[in-house]
């Protein structure tokens, strides 16, 4: 299969999930005896393109245009349509980012094709390529296959593939070509203004790839700081089961469970959580579940991939230290 990967950058900085998508592409290419073209879109993107060229891809395309300097859905759709038409890939892959959600389905539709978005994996079944995505907020998985002619469009969920598994180019460097696209200013209907950062009024746990959650085992609000230290060392968000939020020790938006958020992160670390069904339904779609509880019969262990039967007040500081070591 000929695969086109559309990477994402903003103001010269990568959205790192782009590399995860390249890993997906490499695996699909390996399974289908395929080739990969990696595209980077914007203005003055040659440095970024060179970076991609060091990876194991057949070609890098720098899609350059003044009007692509700032992302607009119109700009990207019109430009990438031309790229797809000229490169004629079988499969077009994207990382499933907020930006991709904003334009990729439309791009596919402009070419009369559909998009399978937010996939968590793929597999071959005979001649068929099956894309796996979640439905019912992670309660079920769905096997989706494309119908009709290529190109097919798909995006992969953050964390579905590991960016550090990206293979380097076998013999040094892939060719970098500049792709010229036709864009007219009047075709771009929305005008992007300034980007700014804001202390978010609320946290969206459903977007957090790493979550550290505490339960009754934390016993008192003063102890939450220890869990927050683990979260910080991990680079994740703090969350809690219902009783913690009921007490007001953490805000309600941090609650995971049937009456809170439903999450399916890469990693869910449950500290002192028993695993009552009300909580479990909110997180059992997580890819890797780790549970620490002093009760070896706690139901949480039934769904955990890794378990430690122990005192969370001894495990938390030890874990924080080990995570900090691993990071450095």
């Amino acid at each position: 299969m000929k695969i086109l990967v559309v990477t994402e950058q903003r103001q010269g900085k990568w959205n790192n999930t782009s590399f995860e998508t390249l890993v997906a592409a490499q695996q699909i290419a390996a399974a289908t005896a395929g080739t990969i073209t990696a595209a980077v879109v914007g203005k003055n993107v040659t440095t970024l393109a060179e970076e991609l060229a060091a990876k194991n891809v057949a070609e890098v395309l720098a899609v350059e245009n003044e009007l692509l300097q700032n992302y607009t859905p119109d700009g990207y759709c019109i430009a990438l349509k031309q790229i797809v038409e000229s490169t004629k890939p079988d499969l077009v892959l994207f990382p499933h980012t907020y930006q991709v959600r904003d334009f990729a389905p439309k791009l596919a539709a402009m070419l009369g094709r559909g998009m399978v978005g937010d996939c968590v994996g793929f597999r071959r079944e005979g001649e068929k390529l099956i894309f796996v995505r979640q439905m019912f907020q992670g309660k079920t998985a769905a096997d989706v296959s494309f119908v009709g002619a290529t190109p097919w469009f798909a995006s992969f969920q953050s964390g579905a593939f590991r960016a550090d598994m990206l293979e380097a180019h076998a013999s040094g460097k892939a060719p970098v070509n500049t792709a010229k696209v036709e864009l007219k200013a009047e075709d771009i209907r929305t005008k992007p203004l300034e980007l700014f950062k804001e202390a978010k009024a609320s946290v969206d746990l459903t977007q957090a790839p790493l979550i550290v959650a505490i339960g009754r085992g934390i016993k008192a609000p003063e102890n939450i700081a220890q869990a927050e230290a683990v979260a910080k060392a991990l680079g994740g968000e703090i969350a809690a089961s219902r009783p913690i939020c009921d007490e007001g020790w953490l805000p309600m938006e941090r609650q995971i469970g049937s009456s809170g958020q439903t999450v399916a992160p890469k990693l869910y670390l449950a500290l002192g959580i028993s695993g009552a069904i009300q909580h479990v339904v909110g997180m059992k779609g997580s890819r890797t579940i780790v549970a620490v509880n002093k009760d070896q019969n706690a139901p949480i262990f039934e769904i955990a991939d890794y378990g430690i039967v122990g005192d969370i007040f001894e495990i938390m500081p030890a874990l924080t230290e080990e995570l900090q070591k691993a990071k450095s």
Partner: protein
């Protein structure tokens, strides 16, 4: 402003799911308005309160979706269009967007609002596809809408705490971020008035939209845990070290 809000009826959040092939058994479960769409509806009602005009609810599905439509009318929408389709759970995103676009095309509207994604399929594509099919500008994950002089200034959410303002002309299609407003309650008067509001029922066939799918859901299933729990033993320090190693090299999540 005439605003069309696309609202989907989905299985109730806590309904026990009984899988049947590539969908679920619909008997013995409750249905409700897709929660993300309720924020879009609330936003539409607020825009109408500020700018005047009409809010029209558009929903696709079998007869039962009329219940959700009535809830939207009770909250203040003016009228509704129900596209009757028994089989709509089988439509792919482009298929349902085409149907909705055909119905929208028959109305004069300034704004089309959708929720971010549905709690059942979760495709998250409807708003963007509608924009493409209707040839209208669009923006997604919108947190705030300001209308002035026939144009909009929109606040869009990005990852990692970033936001952006965008200028967007009217008419347009917007998908609204969840949780941006406190959804209002239907009032008693609203519930009574809803009984008299128009729900125009049209069939999918009557819109003359071809429904070739671009993708099929082969099957859905509960993802089974293939491994047993691996217990990590030793002193807290040892167990923690083992865990970090597993997370790094085996599970590969850090």
């Amino acid at each position: 402003m005439n605003i069309i809000v696309c609202i989907k009826q989905v299985p109730a959040k806590d309904a026990p799911l009984s899988i049947a092939g590539n969908w679920i058994k619909e008997s013995d479960i409750g249905f409700e308005m897709n929660e993300p769409d309720s924020y879009a509806l609330e936003e539409a009602l607020r825009l109408k309160e500020k700018n005047g005009g009409e809010v029209i609810v558009l929903s696709l599905g079998p007869e039962r979706v009329k219940q959700t439509i009535k809830e939207a009318l009770a909250k203040g929408a003016d009228r509704a269009i129900h596209i009757a389709d028994e089989n709509f759970a089988q439509l792919d995103p482009l298929g349902s967007a085409k149907v909705l676009a055909a119905a929208i095309g028959k109305e004069k509207c300034d704004l089309v609002l959708t929720g971010l994604q549905s709690d059942d399929h979760g495709f998250g594509q409807t708003g963007v596809l509608l924009a493409g099919l209707l040839n209208l500008p669009h923006a997604t994950i919108i947190m705030q809408i300001e209308v002035q002089d026939g144009k909009m200034k929109l606040k869009r959410e990005l990852e990692a705490g970033w936001f952006q303002w965008i200028e967007c002309p009217l008419p347009a299609v917007l998908s609204i971020q969840s949780g941006i407003n406190k959804v209002r309650y239907a009032t008693l008067k609203g519930i009574m008035a809803a009984k008299k509001k128009e729900i125009a029922t049209i069939t999918r066939e009557s819109l003359g939209v071809a429904a070739e799918p671009t993708q099929t859901i082969e099957k859905i299933y509960v993802p089974t845990k293939t491994k047993k729990t691996e217990f990590l033993t030793g002193t807290p320090k040892e167990a923690a070290a083992k865990l970090v190693e597993k997370l790094k090299f085996e599970a590969r999540v850090i």
